[in-house]
């Protein structure tokens, strides 16, 4: 177990900056997820923690010890790759043994450790197959086993579930959560999938363009997104956004007959208001809108509407009888409006939401 500090990390290739002045402290035993769209620098950060890439500036510290110039082999970490990265010319057993052999673990002990891991991951019958003969899910299990086998201080995961189908992904997600609970090791997990981030993490770090936008527990990131980008990235279906301005007494949406009272009302500040689909409801004297699309998943109904130039998505229950073309009126659940500065995208106010 180790705490990891990223201290003012920067990574650039020439003028192209990939990670910009990033500070994150990963606590020992924590499951931290780096979440962001592709190209946000999350994989580069992980590779720098692993020692596969070197930061252009700043320090990487494990338990306070500077690791920048320590070889990946000497960092006592394990990493699971999106491509699984099993050694194709070795059998499953040889794959699992490789990190042990590199650490000169005696043969007898190796065999026992392989059997133990194979038992936990239920890959015993596969041990003598070549990795190229395995299915994607089996390969990912072996990759997980190869990471577990030598009890590293830190586990690194680089989008490990992206190449699996939906069912298998849910299953492996559960397995990784269990792994974290059983071993209690520090884990850093990179993904672009916000469901993975929400369900697995102790804390989430949301990144965009090499910058850290928000770092916090999943519930907090969801309830109090720090920027408009975070708000739009976390949560499905996506949050609705309405351009508008703060006027005395509340928020007024551009071009719509919608005015909502908020606490932080100020004069003539341009803002974007965000409201999640489940916080919109049908209200008699609400904003008039027309239904343009109805999607029923069985347990809920997503209703897309257009109000003026804006599109608003509502999440209603399965009993909803709306059809395309229906005229409705939309209201906002009290206290569920998020306000973001229009220019900077930053959240206004620290409350959960604006009353």
């Amino acid at each position: 177990m180790a705490a990891i500090s990223l201290d003012h990390i920067r990574k650039s290739y020439g003028a192209h900056v990939i990670v910009d002045n990033l500070c994150i402290d990963v606590q020992a035993g924590e499951f931290l997820t780096l979440l962001g769209p592709s190209g946000c620098g999350k994989s580069t950060i992980l590779r720098m923690i692993a020692g596969l890439d070197s930061p252009s500036a700043g320090g990487i510290l494990f338990d306070g010890r500077r690791m920048n110039d320590v070889l990946p082999a000497d960092r006592n970490i394990a990493m699971v790759f999106q491509s699984y990265a099993l050694y194709p010319h070795m059998t499953v057993r040889q794959n699992l043994e490789y990190p042990l052999r590199k650490r000169r673990v005696p043969a007898q002990q190796r065999a026992a450790m392989v059997d133990n891991v194979a038992g936990i991951l239920q890959i015993g019958p596969l041990l003598d197959r070549r990795s190229s003969q395995l299915s994607g899910g089996q390969q990912q299990r072996v990759a997980l086993g190869r990471a577990m086998i030598r009890s590293p201080d830190v586990f690194l995961f680089d989008e490990p579930l992206s190449n699996l189908d939906a069912t298998l992904r849910a299953h492996m997600r559960a397995e990784i959560i269990q792994l974290h609970q059983r071993l209690g090791k520090t884990m850093v997990y990179v993904t672009h999938d916000q469901i993975e981030a929400m369900t697995m993490s102790t804390r989430i770090a949301v990144l965009e363009g090499g910058k850290l936008l928000q770092l916090g527990p999943p519930a907090e990131v969801y309830a109090r997104p720090a920027t408009r980008f975070v708000a739009s990235f976390v949560g499905t279906p996506r949050m609705n956004f309405l351009p508008g301005a703060l006027v005395p007494g509340g928020f007024r949406a551009d071009g719509l007959a919608l005015e909502i009272a908020v606490a932080h009302a100020a004069d003539a500040v341009r803002v974007t208001a965000g409201v999640r689909p489940q916080d919109l409801l049908l209200a008699k004297d609400g904003l008039p809108a027309r239904v343009t699309l109805v999607e029923r998943t069985g347990q809920e109904t997503l209703v897309t509407t257009s109000a003026g130039a804006q599109t608003l998505v509502l999440r209603l229950d399965e009993s909803c009888k709306l059809r395309i073309g229906d005229e409705i009126a939309i209201g906002v659940r009290p206290g569920k409006l998020h306000l973001f500065d229009e220019a900077s995208g930053e959240r206004l106010g620290n409350d959960d939401c604006h009353p």
Partner: protein
């Protein structure tokens, strides 16, 4: 069978017969080579020449191996080609891996230079290489030839190997680095085993290239006992007043044997190797 189907089948048979005739035409020189090498001399030098030999004989092969200096030429050629292939492939693996996987100044320039050297006409270096080899006293020696052959084999091998190494997924090497493998362990335990088919193919192509080398062998070597096959066999032709074509065709067959053998070994990678060097895709 309906009429249309029969017509289509007939068309296909016609087409295949025509195509095979064309292939026969392309292969004819080779067939003729083998046939001539197995015919009694009387059948070759008579009129009309026979197409299929009326009796087969191995006498020309016997003569070639025991009555001429061919055996020595063959040994010399194998020595030069194998040595330069070994050097070129060893240096080439290291160079290709360095070029593909490590970031350092002038990396792009290096890759460009390799391509340039690969395409460089041998004759452009004829004058200075002759001077260099002569000045270290290696003209007339097979070692001089090893040096010049490697000069052209190395960029070729490097260029082919570069593509093979670049095709390996880098994550696997990263995984090994994290699993505790040092830099040399990654090269020997992870990279080389994965690239082995490509390395074999490269070795075969490099061997063939060195085995076929003619210009420098012609220029550097005068003595019969250190001659390689291409100039040596031609000298056999030129020196005889009455050329024994049966013997020559037997020589052609024997010269082709090692290539045929190696080709059979790496046939699966044939197109791949060629493509990697030039026109992959």
């Amino acid at each position: 069978m309906t009429g249309a189907r029969m017509l289509r089948l007939g068309g296909r048979i016609c087409r295949d017969v025509l195509v095979w005739a064309a292939i026969g035409l392309i292969s004819f020189p080779l067939v003729w080579m083998v046939l001539t090498s197995l015919k009694p001399r009387i059948e070759t030098n008579g009129y009309p020449p026979s197409f299929l030999p009326s009796s087969l004989t191995l006498v020309h092969y016997y003569d070639l191996l025991f009555r001429t200096g061919f055996g020595q030429l063959f040994v010399n050629s194998l020595f030069v080609s194998l040595t330069s292939t070994l050097v070129a492939v060893l240096f080439g693996i290291a160079g290709a891996y360095g070029l593909v996987r490590f970031r350092f100044a002038a990396r792009g320039l290096m890759a460009r230079l390799v391509l340039f050297a690969y395409l460089l006409p041998a004759v452009v270096l004829l004058v200075p290489l002759y001077v260099i080899v002569a000045s270290i006293g290696l003209n007339g020696s097979l070692w001089g030839l090893v040096i010049t052959d490697t000069t052209f084999a190395l960029p070729f091998a490097l260029w082919l190997l570069r593509a093979f190494v670049a095709a390996l997924p880098p994550d696997i090497e990263a995984a090994a680095a994290i699993d505790g493998a040092g830099r040399f362990a990654i090269l020997f335990e992870i990279v080389i085993p994965q690239a082995l088919p490509g390395i074999l193919a490269t070795a075969v192509f490099t061997f063939i290239m060195a085995y076929n080398e003619y210009l420098y062998a012609l220029v550097f070597i005068n003595a019969d006992q250190s001659m390689t096959l291409p100039p040596g066999v031609l000298r056999l032709v030129k020196e005889s007043y009455d050329i024994d074509w049966n013997l020559m065709m037997a020589a052609a067959v024997v010269i082709t044997m090692p290539i045929l053998l190696l080709f059979a070994l790496v046939q699966r990678h044939f197109g791949q190797g060629l493509g990697a060097g030039s026109v992959k895709g």
